[in-house]
Subunit: 551 residues, 2 copies
């Protein structure tokens, strides 16, 4: 038999609904139980599942609706007791975390002084009016909710653009602003890679791999899945590109998306091509013809996008290096013959050196017979290389010193130590001369090697070396450093002040909807207030619209 | 003034020479010091550096020669005292390690009962006759030494091939046989990827990255830099290919080389294409046109070669899965929409599904509205997915269940745990049915995520899941499992018994030359004896040749 429970005006968010559903599912004598709010859509779902009752038909969107297929009425009674228990005793988990909470937006904003950003995860039909209220107050919106109409999205984003505000989403799964996770978000390190994504788990996968490869994230600006549609026209994407290009914390921009509509693609890639910072684009499903076109580097997989971004930006341990215009050359001093071959090949590709004899880039394999005659191999005796390094530092036209560091049985017991001493000296001379020089390396070794790769990496990093995760990555990073200087600084439209502030100052955040999204923000010390949103006017959309018009 | 010291019949290997050179270099009053054996080549080097003296001119190849530019004769005297100290007191480091040592090859082999493999690192001019002696005794040779003529190399390799023996090198920097490091070698985990390489640091870089990506190495067979030249014709390479194809521990073969001569390339790639196991080829400097041609997967960088090999072989934690011919389909149940898109795209590419409607491969995005209506997102509530998994296990035509596991704030606190329970049950049913099924996943998360990616990975691995390092890698691994079954088993020439034994039984090793190469073997518990080789007959090549002819 069907047994239904209606708790009127008892709004529960989707997580609470799931907790209640899990609590009820274990009850003996129950075949099936559905726990939902009484929205028209949900009532339709119950109807098509054959779980509708006259009580359900009469339920309002703000009513909690429970329908169970039970053995007998007694089971139904025990179910009701469980529901009452749940509603009475289970305070939201985050209630214990010290999260401040308010019952109106005004109160929530008031508790913060002013709010910069709102995280919105209420049911879709209520989103548009709530976000208009945010825009009224000059608050950026991150909309996790889905089921928002595209016409509402266009209206919100156009209005936001006019006010210099960002509307991320709707259906925006993840984001990150100044280290603060928004929505579903992985814990990754801060760094200089800024992301723009019309995709939740796509952004997550790219960020996770950036982190694993030693890179870090400045911001991740979610767009929602329809921003690059012809209707929306990439409004938020273009705002985000320009904001990240102007953002001091960001060196490289990554775009994650399904292939945009053709007209939108032209504009988005056109703007990407003109940014003053390199752009990595992963347009999932689009066949990649060239790896690089102008300023845009195309990747075929999410993991590859992360790899290319780290190659361009360096790792989070890389120190910033400012080069003069006359510093143009890469000098690579290698101990491994094949690593040197790979370096020469990749540099040739990256810098287009085929047939070019005018350049002074150099890759020297110090293990070659020419250098080792009568001396041990440089993987055993680092002095063969360190003797030659001074000259690289002292030539004011050199931009990058590129090195391999090979560990393992047979190799020098501390190659990084031998290099570090000479690098610290060399950089001191370079700095005294008012210049800088990038030193880039990779460590060919494992944690179990006698020298331990992470220990050797640390020694190099402390000496000022950017240590990339592979030889190929180190070579491409060196090439990116040299190319970076060639990028003419494009005059971009100024970033609107509210967006500039969002990316450069700690945002004050209102959380509207799922309390759980506020917890990590609070733990990270962010200023956040939870607005304990409930549908007004019994959830009646018409009355809601009237109230919106009057407010 | 030049001061020279000649110690007649005092052979020192190159490491000892370096140690002596380092010990002398700190002496006050010395401008420059050279420490060498008195070979014709070395005497030429001293001459061209202006460091020749009448004493040096008269030195024999077995004489230790030290020439220093010193302030006065007294400094020279102090130098002589240091040299005498060094020769008297400094026992080789490995002398303390318990390494057994013999003064003749016969004695060394006798101490082992029989030897299977010799590690040769003596000066180049002595190598050929020493290796012929090894081949006389049915001993495989790993030749680290360089400066061996190509005609000697051809003669040795042809002779070895006739006897079913391997000659790795000369100039073979690294190798690995059944977990034992040869020459310069990184400490990597055992696994199912077998490598063949005409390059030292190239092999090292690929092995290091295989290890970092969670894969492992069965064997690494070095060729030396000239094996793929027209003169040698890839003798050792072809032997190695066939041996690894027949080797039970190896699932995937990787070739690392500079581009071979055209004629050799055709034969080598032709054999690779016909192996019963997939081959990954990195031919550094050759422009890669297609990613896959027949059985051969081409990589552009050493790191990419490692990545492709792990995608094909799986990780070292993957359990072996034997599929029946009727098991053909991949069923992918995803919680991440973009991860699902990437999976669909990569599967389409890998399996050539464009326009093919006959297949039953499936990628389902369970986060799609169709599945989530009235229910929480599957990243929050794993039951949406676990409910659908049983059917995948129970269809006997399914080959692979492919999953994403998304961690981070907002996601389920233990998605791997929820999956593992259902997977263990499902696999139990599958095994009870006399079948098997591959379960492949990737974890989108970091160590710092609330769920901790390595902890979640372990839970999955313990449930029998192959966890690949990215979504792209997981998808390609799933495709490789399905394709693997299509590879028709090619009838290959039988592996010669001595090579089969080398790869399948613990080799007994004679170390000839640098004692340091024996140390890691000894520490790993290998049977190894050091043959304390010295040049015979005062190093006179003619007398040596005469002795060879008589022996």
């Amino acid at each position: 038999m069907l047994y239904s429970i209606i708790k009127s005006n008892t709004y529960q968010d989707s997580l609470r609904l799931m907790q209640l559903s899990n609590a009820l599912n274990g009850t003996a004598g129950i075949n099936q139980v559905s726990v939902m709010m009484g929205s028209p859509t949900n009532k339709e779902i119950l109807r098509s599942a054959g779980l509708d009752t006259p009580e359900v038909d009469g339920a309002k969107p703000t009513d909690l609706v429970i329908v169970a297929d039970v053995a007998d009425a007694a089971v139904g009674e025990s179910l009701l007791a469980k529901v009452d228990d749940f509603l009475r005793y289970r305070a939201p988990v985050s209630g214990r975390s010290g999260l401040r909470s308010a019952r109106s937006l005004e109160r929530a904003v008031g508790m913060l002084g002013q709010a910069d950003l709102a995280l919105v995860s209420i049911p879709g039909q209520y989103v548009a009016s709530e976000v208009h209220r945010l825009l009224d107050r000059n608050i950026h919106a991150f909309i996790f909710s889905d089921n928002v109409s595209i016409s509402d999205e266009v209206a919100l984003k156009r209005r936001a653009r006019e006010s210099g505000l960002l509307v991320m989403g709707p259906d925006c799964g993840t984001g990150r602003i100044r280290g603060l996770p928004l929505g579903f978000a992985n814990v990754v390190h801060d760094g200089s890679i800024g992301l723009v994504g019309a995709s939740g788990t796509g952004l997550q996968e790219v960020m996770v791999h950036i982190d694993r490869l030693g890179g870090g994230v400045s911001h991740a600006i979610g767009l929602g899945g329809r921003d690059l549609s012809p209707e929306v026209g990439g409004i938020t994407c273009l705002q985000a590109f320009r904001a990240l290009a102007a953002d001091a914390a960001t060196d490289v921009v990554v775009l994650v998306s399904k292939p945009p509509a053709a007209s939108v693609r032209d504009e988005v890639i056109g703007v990407a091509d003109e940014l003053s910072k390199p752009v990595v684009a992963i347009l999932l499903g689009e066949r990649v013809e060239a790896e690089v076109e102008g300023n845009v580097h195309y990747a075929r997989t999410l993991e590859e996008a992360a790899r290319v971004a780290v190659e361009l930006a360096g790792t989070r341990s890389s120190r910033p290096v400012a080069l003069c215009p006359e510093q143009r050359w890469i000098k690579a001093l290698y101990t491994g013959g094949t690593l040197a071959s790979e370096a020469a090949m990749l540099l040739g590709d990256s810098l287009g050196l085929t047939g070019n004899t005018e350049h002074r880039h150099e890759v020297i394999d110090l293990g070659d017979d020419v250098y080792t005659r009568g001396r041990p191999h440089p993987m055993i005796d680092p002095s063969l290389r360190t003797e030659r390094m001074a000259a690289v530092f002292d030539d004011p036209e050199n931009a990058v010193l590129l090195l391999d560091v090979v560990l393992g049985h047979g190799a020098d017991p501390d190659p990084a130590g031998a290099l570090a001493a000479v690098i610290v000296d060399g950089l001191a001379r370079v700095h005294a001369d008012g210049r800088d020089l990038a030193v880039v390396a990779s460590v060919c070794g494992t944690e179990e090697d006698p020298q331990c790769s992470s220990a050797q990496t640390l020694i190099l990093e402390q000496a000022g070396v950017a240590v990339l995760p592979s030889n190929a990555a180190a070579v491409r990073h060196a090439a990116a450093i040299v190319r970076r200087r060639d990028a003419s600084t494009v005059s971009m439209p100024a970033t609107p002040e509210p967006i500039r502030r969002l990316l450069s100052e700690s945002p004050r955040i209102v959380n509207i909807g799922l309390r759980e999204f506020a917890d990590p923000l609070l733990r990270l010390g962010a200023q956040v207030v939870h607005y304990d949103w409930r549908p007004v006017a019994g959830g009646d959309p018409k009355l809601q619209a009237l109230l919106d018009a009057l407010s």
